[in-house]
Structure formats: structure tokens, C-alpha cells
């Protein structure tokens, strides 16, 4: 079932991020995706996450599409001007890509080519409305397209912010919806209750909200995120779980599996699983049975509300 249909039918959506290779060896990339194709509705192919140079989302998406794997191609405003963005969207549309996730893109200073110049010819709202316009058969210059691409389009929302920042985020979200976004991926969420305030304000009837389920890789990573990411909290409960586990990698996969189950239980529209290069762990994440008691909040007195994460 296509992502759009599944979304319209109100079924639980599972997206999995597949980081394209930094190089031309695509064996692991495709093998990791094929392994979980039955459990994943579409593979999100990031466009140079964190401004680290890799294979483009278009190229990597097409590689997966040719293997019969549905993708969500990412487009960002950082690397391409309006000509290149539209050109890539046409190429994607003609080659079977049906889903697009439009993002702003992190500044090059975050990546591995920090002297690169950024483009930002158009902003995210414009990019979304361009995609919408192309579906109606026109390019940004108003010229007719010979065949219009039709995409199921989404973006990101920084659902973890609070107070005034949340209000702004919701307004921004409304603008994105107006411009055609139909699903929203949040920053990593480890406790679905963190989304309560956001969910109360978000226009849920119009769109799908997919919390990111981030596969932790170690205690160090969990601690680092907890301390340094303003918008994401992992919580002491989970950190302790990894710390005391004999097989730490398995425990991390178990935590991700539990988080997916918790998302289902909390009535989320789906999840977007991010493994940041550990895509070989996806089968475990998707097949492990959730732990009986899901409520990790009880032994987590330090849940840090009000932290922020980079919802670019």
C-alpha cells in the first residue's frame, strides 16, 4: 500500500531513514533496506544530513526505487537553487518517487565541508508551495510542465519546544500545511508524553505526525543527547537501562522497539526510525517484542521538559 493511501486510511505508518553512502558502494545501503522492506512503508533518504557530503537523496532514492522499495526523497534549501530543486523534483517524479520531505537543511558549518557556500535561494515555505504548484502543472516561473509530478509531501516540526517557541512552531506548521505538507516528522522522542503539549495544539485532523524514534548506540550517545541537545531528552531511566545491560546494542534496539510500541499505544500516526548509520540494526528494532511494562517514565525523575532539539 502506498504511503499516501496508508496515511489516508489512517493506518500506522513506519518510515525508516536510510543514510546514503559516502561513496559509490551501495551494497550495504540496499541490503539493509531490503532486509526490512516488509515492515517499512517507505525509506526516508536524507539529503546530506548535518551538511556531511554523501550521495544525493535523488540518486540514492532512485537506487532504492529500482529495487522496488518506496522512498521519501528529501530536498533541502541549502544546496540547490530554484532551478536545481525543480529539476530534481521532475527527475524524481518521473522515476517513481512518490513522497517528498522538504527541509531547510543545516548550515554547512555543521558538516565536513564547512567552507562551502550555502544556497538558500528559496526558503522552506516557498519550496513546499513550489512542489504544490508543480503538482498543478506549473513551474515557479509559471510555465506549463509537460506532465505534472504528484507527491505526497511532508516536512519537519520541532514538536519538543515549549511555551512561546511552541506557539511559533505551530504557526510555522500551519504555514507549511497551507503550502502542502501532509506529514510531519518530529525530532527524536523517547517519551511520548513529551509530545502532549504539542499534540494539544497541533491541527491533527489535517496532517500526520510521525515522531522520530532514534536508535541510541551507547550510553555515551544517550548522555550526550540528554545534556547537549536543547530540544531532546533521553531521561535517566533509559540511560540506566543501557548502562546496566549486558548486551548494550541489543538493549538500544529494544529501547527503540519499545518506543515504537509506545508511539502506537499513544495513538501516534506512525514513526520515523532513524538509526544514523546503524541501519543493519533495523531488523532487530522492528522485530524485537516490546518490553512488557512500557512506562519508563516512572523511574525517570529527571525527565527534562523544555529542552530543545534542532528540528531543521
Amino acid at each position: 500500500m502506498q504511503l499516501r493511501d496508508k496515511s489516508e486510511a489512517g493506518q500506522f505508518i513506519v518510515l525508516a531513514e536510510m543514510e546514503p553512502p559516502k561513496g559509490v558502494d551501495i551494497n550495504k545501503f540496499t541490503a539493509n533496506a531490503i532486509r526490512v522492506k516488509e515492515q517499512v512503508d517507505a525509506f526516508v533518504v536524507p539529503e546530506m544530513n548535518s551538511a556531511v557530503m554523501r550521495m544525493s537523496s535523488l540518486g540514492a532514492s532512485l537506487i532504492l526505487q529500482h529495487k522496488g522499495l518506496p522512498t521519501v526523497m528529501q530536498v533541502n534549501c541549502r544546496d540547490r537553487n530554484r532551478l536545481a530543486l525543480q529539476a530534481d523534483l521532475l527527475a524524481a517524479g518521473a522515476s517513481g518517487v512518490e513522497n517528498i520531505m522538504a527541509v531547510t537543511g543545516e548550515d554547512p558549518s555543521f558538516g565536513d565541508h564547512h567552507e562551502a557556500s550555502a544556497v538558500y535561494d528559496i526558503d522552506l515555505i516557498r519550496l513546499l508551495s513550489t512542489i504544490q504548484g508543480m503538482a498543478k502543472g506549473k513551474d515557479m516561473a509559471g510555465v506549463d510542465l509537460i506532465g505534472a509530478p504528484s507527491f505526497f509531501c511532508g516536512s519537519t516540526v520541532n514538536a519538543n519546544v515549549r511555551g512561546k517557541a511552541l506557539q511559533l512552531e505551530i504557526e510555522e506548521m500551519e504555514r507549511k500545511i497551507e503550502a502542502g505538507a501532509r506529514f510531519f516528522v518530529t525530532p527524536p522522542v523517547f517519551d511520548m508524553a513529551d509530545l502532549d503539549e504539542f499534540l494539544q495544539k497541533a491541527p491533527r485532523d489535517k496532517i500526520k505526525i510521525l515522531p522520530t524514534v532514534l536508535l541510541l548506540k551507547s550510553v555515551g550517545m544517550a548522555r550526550y543527547i540528554d545534556r547537549h541537545s536543547d530540544h531532546v531528552s533521553v531521561g535517566q531511566g533509559l540511560i540506566k537501562r543501557i548502562m546496566t545491560a549486558s548486551d548494550k546494542a541489543r538493549e538500544c534496539a529494544q529501547i527503540a522497539a519499545d518506543t515504537i510500541a509506545a508511539a502506537k499505544q499513544a495513538g501516534m500516526d506512525g514513526v520515523a526510525i532513524a538509526t544514523l548509520g546503524w541501519e543493519h540494526m533495523l531488523p532487530q528494532v522492528l522485530n524485537l517484542k516490546p518490553t512488557e511494562s512500557l512506562d519508563t517514565r516512572q523511574d525517570d525523575p529527571n525527565t527534562s521538559w523544555g529542552k530543545h532539539a534542532g528540528g531543521k
Binding site: 548550515d107 558549518s109 564547512h114 567552507e115 562551502a116 557556500s117 550555502a118
Partner: protein, 222 residues
């Protein structure tokens, strides 16, 4: 200097039309030299607006003032007593002056009256051309003192693109090919051996790629 050009009068009218009392604020520096926002242009714009609104039968009090600089706290202080008596200040300074004025007088609307265009020079009376884009790491030493960043349409850094024809740029017969100028100059200086060397990879993080920039000179900071 910073080169600016007056905004179209229709655009200005549209931004000030709801004011009852307006101050047009000129600047004595760059925008005076490029005849976009000095005392003279303040007077011309004020007259044009007065005439327009009188014709419309609209009451609007328009006053004129020109400061030594608008990008300097000291001179901006001179309007401290009167700034909030206006519905809006229409600044004819460059974008820096407009913003500095707006930062200082938070309760008054500050509007731009010019389009800030580039860093350039007076070629002849009434003609200003671009010379620099403030890229933050100047390459003029190796390009015969001619800037490929601001003067080459494609910002190429290792000799001309394929579009250079008879010394002109492919974008227009009116525009000199920067690389033709560079080659001619290096030839005249007997420095063509430098031209053969591949330019180091340009660091755009000192340009706009690294976000808003600042320059700090600690030895003079108080």
C-alpha cells in the same frame, strides 16, 4: 563606499501613506556621495511626497533631517528628543543605518527609503559600479588587483569561463569580462606566471556561508 539607489516613489508612498507625521532622515556619508540619501535627496523626496499627499487631499507633516552618520550611536543620539514624536522615520541611509536607527528607537517605525546595492566606486558623475562583495578573505593580491568575486558574473577563480568574448562577459556586451581585465593586468605587470597557479579552494565561510559576521579588534575595545 556603500552604494544605494532611491526606492521607486510608489513604493515609498505605499509604506508611508498611513503616517500623520513623518521624518525623512538622511545620512552624510556613502549615500550622499552616491546621491541617494544625502541632504539634497532628503529635500527632493520630501517635496515630492508633500506634493503627492497634497494632491490626494491628505494631511501629512513631513520633516527633514540629515545626520553625519546613521551607523554610529553618537550621531543617532541627536534625534533622541524627537524620534518618538513621529509616526515613522523614513531613513535614506544604507541598510545598516536603517537598522541601527530602528534598534535605537524601538517605539518608532523605521522604514527604508533606498535600496542598498553594493560596495562600489564612482565611475563618473551619476555612475557607480561594484568592486567588492565583502567576501571576508580578499584574493586581490593574486588577481592583479581586480576582484573576480564581485566582478565576474560566475565568481570563477581560475581564469575565464567559456563565455568570455572580445573582452566582454557573456551576460552582457556592456559588462567587461573580469578575467580578461585580470589577464591584461597581470600581463602588463609581467606576472602571468602567477596566473598559471591554481587558486586555493575558496573559503566561503568568511562570506555569508558562515552566518552573520563580526569583526572584533580587542586592543581597541574598552
Amino acid at each position: 563606499m556603500i552604494v544605494a539607489s532611491p526606492k521607486p516613489i510608489e513604493e515609498v508612498i505605499n509604506t508611508v501613506k498611513d503616517c500623520k507625521k513623518l521624518l525623512i532622515l538622511g545620512c552624510n556619508e556613502c549615500v550622499t556621495v552616491c546621491e541617494a540619501g544625502g541632504k539634497k535627496e532628503v529635500g527632493i523626496l520630501a517635496s515630492a511626497l508633500r506634493m503627492y499627499f497634497a494632491k490626494q487631499g491628505q494631511q501629512i507633516l513631513i520633516e527633514e533631517r540629515t545626520l553625519e552618520r546613521q551607523c554610529d550611536h553618537e550621531y543617532l543620539e541627536e534625534i533622541r528628543d524627537i524620534a518618538d514624536t513621529y509616526d515613522a522615520i523614513l531613513s535614506l541611509a544604507c541598510g545598516v543605518g536603517v537598522q541601527f536607527t530602528a534598534e535605537k528607537y524601538l517605539s518608532t517605525v523605521v522604514l527604508p527609503g533606498v535600496n542598498t546595492c553594493f560596495l562600489g566606486a564612482t565611475e563618473e558623475r551619476g555612475l557607480w559600479t561594484e568592486r567588492c562583495q565583502a567576501c571576508g578573505s580578499c584574493v586581490l593580491a593574486s588577481t592583479g588587483g581586480i576582484c573576480p568575486v564581485s566582478r565576474c558574473a560566475k565568481r570563477v577563480l581560475n581564469g575565464p569561463c567559456g563565455g568570455s568574448t572580445k573582452g566582454k562577459c557573456e551576460i552582457s556586451k556592456e559588462v567587461d569580462c573580469a578575467w580578461q581585465l585580470i589577464v591584461d593586468r597581470l600581463t602588463a605587470l609581467g606576472k602571468m606566471d602567477e596566473y598559471e597557479q591554481i587558486a586555493p579552494l575558496k573559503d566561503w565561510s568568511t562570506d555569508r556561508a558562515g552566518g552573520p559576521r563580526k569583526v572584533a579588534k580587542e586592543d581597541v575595545q574598552s
